[in-house]
């Protein structure tokens, strides 16, 4: 760890300039819950840590008529204390609250969870289902991307070394919409998802689903947006037949591997089960029943 530097810039511009200067030798420090563990094992050896928690856009949750801008470095515990966000996007908040322990959640952030690039990141399938987009700043200005386009492989994102994830954009609260996230772990907490499923459902005035989005985690090299499963819901009343179709489509879309955390076969089966169960919770929320 010789020569490890630390900077805590105050603005997005300053942060991007630092990243550009270091040309890949810097790592962004938000909560550090993944980064510090990687540094301990030697998996990461940055020369400069750029602490982004002093940058206002990254460390606040803003709400306006268009919806929410969630700073990439806001800790997940703070998300749970934001009544507006909890009311509008309960599935996103419940996913964020599954990351690590109570103590970890005082540090861990959505931005860190995404940029760590894990296929099993809990918040990502929920954000995918919620239709979240990411605001990314670089030397040439800003760009906005759907969240599902950020992770491109295990541990890798499409961000350039001089780019900074600033915030997540989520729509405003809406009646007759519900979202939910479920994950499978062998324990009850403090674990990594074997399968994660995020579902968002919107109903029309007649109780028919007119829009749906589904995200799956830990069943492919990257978190997936599964339109085939969402299509099984659209036009239905989310009845048992539609829920079975969703489960089948989710299982079919899963492309998992065997590893120490679970077999491919198990992941495929459970992807369907959890997607169906998350869809049922999302439906209840859309109906205002939960």
């Amino acid at each position: 760890m010789n020569g490890l530097g630390y900077e805590a810039p105050q603005s997005v511009e300053e942060t991007v300039a630092l990243l550009a200067r270091e040309n890949g030798a810097a790592r962004i420090l938000a909560g550090g819950t993944d980064l510090l563990a990687q540094m301990k094992t030697g998996a990461a050896a940055p020369q400069l840590l750029v602490d982004v928690k002093k940058v206002r856009e990254l460390s606040s949750v803003e709400e306006d008529e268009a919806g929410f801008a969630i700073g990439a470095a806001v800790c997940t515990a703070a998300l749970a204390e934001h009544p507006g966000l909890c009311a509008a996007w309960p599935g996103v908040v419940e996913a964020a609250r599954l990351i690590g322990s109570e103590q970890i959640q005082g540090r861990a952030s959505l931005g860190g969870n995404l940029c760590n690039g894990s296929p099993a990141a809990d918040s990502v399938p929920a954000l995918v289902a919620a239709g979240a987009s990411c605001l990314i700043a670089g030397p040439g200005g800003e760009r906005e991307l759907p969240v599902e386009e950020v992770i491109v492989g295990p541990g890798s994102t499409c961000l350039e070394p001089d780019e900074l994830l600033v915030s997540f954009r989520l729509g405003s609260g809406k009646a007759k919409r519900g979202d939910a996230y479920l994950r499978m772990i062998p324990r009850s907490e403090m674990d990594i998802a074997i399968v994660g499923a995020g579902v968002c459902i919107e109903l029309d005035d007649f109780g028919v689903c007119h829009a749906a989005r589904i995200g799956l985690g830990a069943v492919a090299p990257t978190p997936l947006r599964v339109d085939a499963a969402a299509d099984a819901l659209v036009g239905s009343r989310v009845d048992d037949a539609a829920l079975e179709a969703v489960a089948a489509a989710a299982s079919a879309a899963a492309d998992p591997i065997d590893d120490k955390r679970g077999s491919a076969e198990y992941r495929r089966k459970v992807a369907g089960v959890l997607t169906r169960r998350a869809a049922k919770i999302a439906l209840d929320r859309a109906r205002g029943e939960q």
Binding site: P186, R187, S188, K260, R261
Partner: protein, 759 residues
């Protein structure tokens, strides 16, 4: 929490059975207690171990010159720096240990036998320099084929770990070496005749995986060895006298040359009944002339310290239609890891203990290219109980008899010939089963997808050697000095027994754990023996001191000692002794200098009269039929404690045993890749239960006093890990109709079984 009382004429105690605040509690909650890694000395160096990247390889050469040339590196140690040790069985630790093997486990000689096996160690000015130095030690290996599984290890073409290992206990003696270290057999009667006469016979094969004790505190030591060849060692362990003896043996030193100071211990569960770092730290200190500190990482703990054996058990048991077990036979294969010495012998002895039946068991001790196993709470018994209690459950169901009634029908009791030799003395097996049957949990309704299991467990408990002294101070307090690391609240229990003996307030007793030079010899903290055996030494030492106090009072009063009785912390004249004012402990202590000097009671003993212990656990689970996830939703542990000195610590032992047993049953397992490398050497993927995985574990203490102990104590620390695995498995069987015989009952495995049963 409840206590089921037995017997009508209960003695009345002031302290025994109450729940005072533990004497070591404040330091522990305030972070002041000194654990293994907390110690430091001026000029101290940091030691680190280079470990084998192969599961099995010949060491062709080791070149340490690169590391020694580095700035800040003070010493390097390899097997060449340690004496070559001849084969000799140790009688000190818990479980069989051969000094030659122990030496080669501490530091590989000629061959590495598992991934993570120590091959060299360095001492350097900082942990970072020590880490870099390890990378500059060049080891040339000739990689050999390895064997990871007990089944494969027995195949005729399996790679041999030790070419001089011939199976012991087999007639005629084998002509060729193998990976089967020994065979043991034990039993009672003619079970085959009983099996032939049975109405129902169940035959099953069970498998369990290697699991780690999972103590929170990694192994840690500071050692200093001077020019005079005398060493002082500060270490966290289950026995500082054990460390002294092992280090002396492994380093060719006299025990008198080594003093070991016990640190507070952050969990051991049997895993700290041996040495790993301590001898290396002494040699590194001797070579460098500086104190050396060594602390394992969690990964090292998993890769190189003892797990519990992986096992395969084949069991046949039969019974009559009316629920009488007619015979049983078991074949047990236990993996020992890289060196012989699994607890298969203890397993063969314990597995049928709850039952008055004709049964035989044969056990095999098998070496594989994995870390040498170490003791883990009731070593060997939980896996064997998994087999026996699962089959008993099935037989009870075949007979249509309530599983607790079935166990009562066949229960061992006083006078019954055990399958392992002695006749049972006074035991609480029946009382424990009856208390479980009477518990509301046993008849409580179950929800859909839920099931209930029950299982019995047994453990011998240990006696062995203990010493204690009690020192009466002139403020009227008593310092109780003993020599067993406190892993389960034993300070509190020893202090309570002393307060009871002296008839003084518990606050006036100061229990201390002394180093190897400051108290008489004590065998290690293991075998659930401390409150029993060291407690007995404390009681005897207190009685010795009380006799001296009476003598002093007699001298002050000018009467014979028979004219003085001791009660409520003071000397009183016996009836008819006149109008003498009682003399308190403090009164006598203040006059000690003039009446014969300091008052010190002492006792050293080999504890006889061990009270064997039984437990019965009831477990409710809910099984998710679509994911295979098993949640434990209710749990009740019933156990005979003889007499609970401090009920909170008895309950704590019971709850801790359940927590570990549930983890073993549901998710814990060592996972290996094809190269023999452990894939989950950390608590993220080696899944011990977290708090939210468990319900409140209800406890019922049954008290059938052990006649062999002044207060009736039976050991309580190990029995509670014996029933949980079968209790969980029987509950899963009840919930799903599927008999699972392979651990862990992890979600993928349970779902696969459910899907298979649906066809």
């Amino acid at each position: 929490m409840a206590t089921a009382e037995n017997g009508s004429s209960e003695p009345k105690f002031r302290w025994i059975g109450t729940r005072p605040v533990r004497p070591d509690g404040v330091d522990k909650v305030r972070g002041r207690a000194n654990y293994g890694a907390d110690h430091a000395l001026p000029g101290m160096l940091w030691g680190k171990v280079l470990r084998s990247p192969y599961a099995h390889a010949r060491i062709v050469s080791i070149d340490t010159s690169g590391a020694l040339a580095m700035e800040g590196v003070h010493a390097v140690v390899t097997a060449e720096d340690l004496p070559e040790i001849a084969p000799e069985e140790s009688k000190i630790g818990e479980g069989p240990t051969n000094y030659r093997d122990l030496s080669r486990n501490v530091m590989a000689r000629d061959k590495v036998l598992y991934h993570g096996h120590a091959v060299a160690a360095v001492a350097a000015s900082s942990p970072a320099v020590a880490d870099r130095a390890l990378a500059h030690i060049e080891v040339e290996y000739e990689v050999l084929p390895h064997v990871l599984d007990g089944d494969d290890a027995q195949s005729p073409d399996a790679p041999l770990l030790h070419d001089d290992l011939y199976t012991k206990g087999v007639e005629p003696a084998p002509e060729r070496p193998s990976n089967v270290a020994s065979r043991v057999e034990m039993g009672r009667g003619d079970p085959e005749r009983g099996l032939a006469a049975a109405d129902f016979v169940v035959e099953r094969s069970f498998r369990t995986k290697a699991v780690h004790q999972g103590y929170i505190e990694p192994h840690a030591v500071v050692a200093t060895c001077g020019e005079d060849g005398r060493a002082t060692v500060w270490a966290s362990s289950q026995g500082h006298f054990m460390i002294r003896a092992y280090c002396a043996k492994l380093l060719g030193m006299e025990q008198s040359q080594i003093k070991v100071v016990p640190a507070e211990i952050g969990g051991g569960f049997g895993g700290k009944t041996t040495v790993y770092l301590e001898p290396l730290a002494i040699v590194l200190s001797s070579k460098s002339g500086r104190p050396v500190k060594m602390v394992m990482s969690r990964e090292e703990v998993f890769r190189a310290t003892g797990p519990a054996s992986a096992t395969r058990i084949e069991l046949r048991m039969g019974c009559t239609r009316d629920g009488r077990i007619t015979g049983a036979h078991a074949r047990l294969e236990y993996e020992a890891g890289a060196f012989p010495g699994s607890p298969v012998g203890a397993a063969v002895m314990t597995l049928f203990a709850p039952y008055d039946i004709d049964a035989r068991a044969e056990g095999y001790d098998i070496v594989v290219n994995k870390p040498k196993v170490a003791a883990y709470r009731a070593p060997g018994a939980p896996m064997a109980a998994f087999a026996v209690e699962s089959v008993v459950d099935e037989l009870a169901a075949k007979c249509g008899i309530d599983p607790i009634e079935f166990r009562l029908n066949n229960a061992s009791k006083e006078g019954v010939q055990s399958t392992f030799g002695p006749k049972f003395k006074r035991i609480g097996n029946v009382e424990t089963l009856e208390a479980a049957r009477a518990h509301p949990h046993w008849k409580a309704p179950l929800a859909p997808n839920q099931g209930r299991g029950v299982a019995s467990g047994f453990w011998f408990n240990g006696g062995m050697q203990s010493s204690a002294t009690v020192q009466v101070a002139d403020d009227g307090t008593v310092c109780v000095v003993s020599g067993n690391p406190d892993i389960g609240g034993s300070r509190a229990s020893l202090a309570m027994m002393a307060a009871e003996e002296f008839g003084i307030d518990i606050e006036r007793v100061d229990p201390q754990i002394a180093d190897t030079s400051s108290v008489g010899y004590n065998d290690l903290t293991g075998g659930s023996r401390v409150t029993f055996a060291t407690g007995m030494a404390v009681v005897e030492a207190c009685r010795d001191a009380v006799r001296q106090l009476r003598e002093r009072a007699a001298a002050i009063w000018g009467v014979e000692i028979d004219g003085v009785e001791w009660a409520d912390g003071e000397a009183r004249p016996t009836k008819g002794g006149g109008e003498l004012e009682p003399l308190t402990l403090r009164d006598i202590a203040l006059k000690a200098a003039r009446t014969g000097g300091p008052i010190t009671g002492r006792a050293s003993l080999t504890a006889r009269g061990v009270g064997m212990a039984f437990g019965v656990h009831i477990c409710d689970v809910e099984v998710d039929p679509e994911t295979g996830k098993v949640d434990v939703v209710r749990y009740t542990a019933v156990q005979d404690a003889g007499r609970a000195i401090h009920p909170s610590y008895v309950e704590g032992q019971m709850q801790g045993g359940v927590a570990q047993g549930v983890g073993w049953a549901l998710n814990e397992e060592y996972l290996y890749d094809d190269d023999g490398r452990m894939e989950n050497p950390g608590f993220l993927d080696y899944r011990v239960p977290v708090a939210s995985d468990l319900p409140m574990i209800d406890t019922v203490i049954v008290e059938v006093p052990n006649p062999g102990h002044p207060y009736g104590v039976r050991g309580v620390g190990e029995v509670p890990i014996v029933p949980p695995i079968p209790a969980v498995a029987n509950a899963v069987a009840s919930a799903t109709g599927i008999r699972m015989t392979e651990l862990p009952l992890s979600p993928p495995r349970v779902l696969a079984a459910i899907d298979e049963s649906r066809g």
